[in-house]
Symmetry: C2
Subunit: 141 residues, 2 copies
């Protein structure tokens, strides 16, 4: 019996889950680590809680500031040819981290990258800050 | 004498200026046209006020909703391999339209797509809502 060949990941569209590492909720102490750094850490850990197969097309990346400082914590999802999403008002905890990864996997698996609100994981159902259309030159649909 | 050949635009990076056409400031009447539609119209007209050369790498595009409804009017700038920007709290008038086009031209001409606040045209100096990094697979820098 031969194994069914898997398409190489390089051929697939990779969704980036970008976590702002400098996000601090208004009034948060500057002496403590930034909430964004805490969330980034949580997302990195949470990758080991989810099936590797689900995250095959997901890459996690930290970014110092995404200019949505009034709505900390924030994460973005983006992939060539798909809409980009930015979510804010997130708690820097394990539940948010898992839901952000699950949502990134949904974005990666959906050919059009559309994320309907009522299908998104709970922590990313509210707090959408922006949805940018795919760049025209990249749009496939 | 031979003319100096211009590189074809298809080879250049095109910056999209995306104008939300459904933006309505809070409390605005639903009986009047959406402020976003007014801004989109103004941007289309303003293209004729600027030198064609400056807009060679700029494409204008209307988009029904970018999910930043609380910060109407909104426009986005995006190009493959460059950071995406979203601006809000914009007035739907000719001055905003011209500044948005000028800012799009700056984004197109800058190899790294970076837009420093104090170099941006006046109407886009405040009201930045988001800056997403270029997708890792596309980043050139």
């Amino acid at each position: 019996m031969s194994e069914r060949p898997q398409p190489p990941v390089a051929d697939a569209v990779i969704t980036e889950l970008v976590v702002c590492t400098t996000c601090r909720p208004e009034g948060a102490s500057r002496d403590a680590p930034a909430a964004g750094a805490t969330l980034f850490e949580a997302v990195q850990h949470a990758q080991f809680d989810l099936p590797a197969e689900a995250l095959r097309r997901v890459r996690v990346r930290g970014q110092a500031c995404m200019s949505a400082c009034g709505r900390a914590c924030t994460v973005a999802l983006q992939a060539p040819g798909k809409p980009s999403y930015l979510f804010g008002d997130l708690q820097p905890d394990a539940a948010t981290a898992r839901d952000a990864l699950r949502c990134a996997a949904m974005h990666a698996e959906a050919a059009d990258g559309q994320l309907l609100r009522n299908q998104r994981p709970e922590r990313l159902r509210n707090g959408i800050l922006a949805k940018l259309p795919p760049h025209g030159a990249q749009a496939t649909g």
